[in-house]
Amino acid sequence: MFDQNLVFTTLLFFNWMVLAYFVGINIAYFGLLFISYFELLRYSRTIRHERWRRILQSPLTLPVSVIAPAYNEEVPIAESVRSLLMLQYPRMEVVVVNDGSRDSTMEVLIQSFGLVKVPTQVETTLNSKPIKDIYRSPDYPNLVVVDKENGGKADALNAGINVSRYGLVCAIDADSLIEGGALLRVVRPFLEKPRTTVAVGGIIRVVNGCDIEAGRLTKVRLPRSFLPMLQTVEYLRAFLFGRAGWSALRSLLIISGAFGVFKKETVIAVGGYKHNTVGEDMELVIRMHHHLRERNIKYDMFFLPDPVCWTEVPDSWKILGRQRNRWHRGLIDSLLNHRKMFMNPKYGTVGLLGMPYFTIFEMLGPIVEMSGYIVVPAAFIAGVIDLEFFIAFLSLAVLFGIVLSTGSLVLEELSFRRFPRAVDLLILLGAGVIENLGYRQINTLWRILAFRDFIRGNTAWGRMERKGFAKK
């Protein structure tokens, strides 16, 4: 029935494709790891001599508007806002945007901070749903609470930017916890290169398992459950060698929506956050590259590994699946929206390195990886490849994954040492091995399903359940 030669040739072809992809992606990964190593080393050697108190006391330090969109966050909101108000920074305002929550988020805010309605003029430079009221607190002069109609996260951020008064805006998730000195650290590049710096992102770390008291992280611990533990390794890898490497290559395409500072003027110039996308953070960053490179404007974007934002990660498969599906839909949407930049020398390293990498290895990666899981065993069964090659390939795939995770942990140890106990590192090393056996494959499947949902036009965020910091 089958033309055996055709099957054989097809399998062989696919195997070569998978092998070529495997070689390509690992060259890219190891290249990034290598670059990140030197970048982080240089950064940690410089930053340890910074006089933070001097920046804190300087009247020249640029003021920042911290914008925290909140939707149905009645449990963590009061604690989160309190922790934002405690940030060490000389001049800042905290703009909390209640995006038409259906729960009692607004009531909790009014009660917790003694909010009073203030008639406030707002200059509408970015599109957003109507603002109902603006509140201020006599106890917290730098707190502004915006109550608006529901329009999604991007819409809430745009409304927050319209209301904000300072030249730098820091977009954060209301359910995340920013470390006390993190804002000061993340703003530093704007002081070093005030003309050219347009965006800076900090690192996101997993808060599950850590001790938190009164909105402050008091002890760093590893998560106690399985899924958050694996995500801890993933986050370290994604940030410490992923983003640090891309930042050094001047091709940073993502600044996490949970913690990033932007020059307001540039955000407004590109039209603010895009509605109808689930990856508004990445989309904004790529649009900024697009806009600035097209106009030949000199600019800088940085990832910094020490300003830390702690976030609660999902500890159920279902919610994690939704999150990863959403992230991948956001990635596909952002890359397709700006496909003009792909391999286009006009966009410099972003067009020639960043966009191809994210398109080929991040966006299409799950499809190739899943094909590999099917084609390589099939080729082995059909006798296209021999047992030695099959075992060697599988072992190398797992080994490279482990080496990369270990590499991230080495970077962590060399630079910031957040996990004080040696046993924590051993546990994380173990998690770096285990994640290759099942977790990684399920993740791949979620990301493949994201293609289906993207084609169907699904722009839903999916419900996230947060326990809130107060309960920890």
């Binding site: 050697r45 410089t46 001599h49 006089r51 001097r54 920046i55 300087s58 009247p59 020249l60 305002e93 009073v116 203030v118 008639p119 406030t120 003029q121 707002v122 200059e123 201020r136 607190s137 006599p138 002069p141 730098n142 008064r165 300072y166 002081l191 070093e192 290169k193 005030p194 003309r195």
Partner: protein, 279 residues
């Protein structure tokens, strides 16, 4: 650990600590480290010398301020400023002129630690640099304001009426910080500047100077097309005491206009005590 503690000390305790560092040979060791070929060792050394505050390190720090590595140079001049030594200032002004290598903000931050002793040198440099590098000029203008150098008012007035909008805006702000009444008329004129940044800073400065003769002029600014100008004008009026507050109340009672809206906002914010966050 000693170095960490030393950074926290002030007065006689700090002097004693410096003496201890010298006697224990730490200063000498760091000076030797300045001759290292590795950039981060040199950076380490200037950082330690900054904390140890020994006068014997001035000469080696002056040499380090000419190092080929930017961080080392900046570290060295910061250390010199920490010693209240103005000999590094020339080097700093040069650095400001070349903002692609050194951030003027960071240099200015260091100069501020010297305090009023740096005023004369800053003023002199500002005079020299009238047509020079923009970022350097802006930072020097800001410094004269932050150092409250009244002798710089005339130079700043020249900038306020000059062709460069960023310099005009910086000068308007600095004149308010200095608080010299000589600037009042020019600041009032600046309320009609073509650039909103200049108008906003002029309004703020009139508020700082509590220029109650200019209530009408500030009242006009309440209808400015930019919210930044309107808000600062309202704030300035509020600084004038009862007369200004009455003006704001009267304006707020006229419904519908931009001036009425911003006046009502300022009064509501002032009632809560949150009005000064943005100026």
């Amino acid at each position: 650990m000693l170095l960490e503690q030393a950074g926290e000390l002030r007065g006689v305790d700090r002097e004693n600590m410096t003496l201890a560092f010298e006697n224990l040979g730490y200063v000498e060791k760091s000076v030797r480290q300045l001759r290292s070929r590795t950039w981060w060792r040199k950076l380490n050394a200037v950082s330690k010398l900054e904390t140890m505050r020994s006068m014997s390190s001035i000469s080696p720090l002056l040499s380090a301020s000419r190092d080929s590595i930017e961080d080392v140079r900046l570290g060295a001049v910061r250390a010199l400023c920490e010693l209240d030594d103005t000999r590094g200032l020339g080097m700093m002004f040069q650095a400001m002129e070349n903002s692609t290598r050194w951030a003027p903000e960071r240099v200015a931050e260091a100069i501020l630690t010297i305090g009023p002793a740096a005023s004369a040198a800053v003023r002199e440099q500002l005079q020299k640099t009238q047509t020079g590098h923009l970022d350097a000029k802006l930072m020097l203008i800001a410094l004269t304001g932050l150092l409250r150098d009244a002798e710089a008012s005339d130079i700043l007035l020249n900038f306020l009426t000059g062709p460069d909008k960023e310099a005009r805006s910086a000068a308007a702000r600095a004149l308010g910080e200095i608080g010299d009444p000589i600037a009042l008329d020019k600041l009032q004129e600046a309320l009609h500047d073509t650039e909103w940044e200049v108008r906003a800073e002029a309004a703020r400065s009139l508020g700082l100077l509590q220029a109650s003769d200019f209530i009408e002029a500030l009242g006009e600014a309440l209808s400015d097309s930019r919210i930044e100008v309107r808000y600062r004008a309202a704030w300035a009026l509020y600084q004038m005491g009862e007369k200004g507050s009455e003006f704001l109340k009267a304006t707020a009672s006229k419904d519908g206009s931009l001036a009425a809206g911003i006046s009502a906002q300022l009064l509501a914010e002032a009632a809560l005590g949150v009005e000064s966050v943005y100026v």
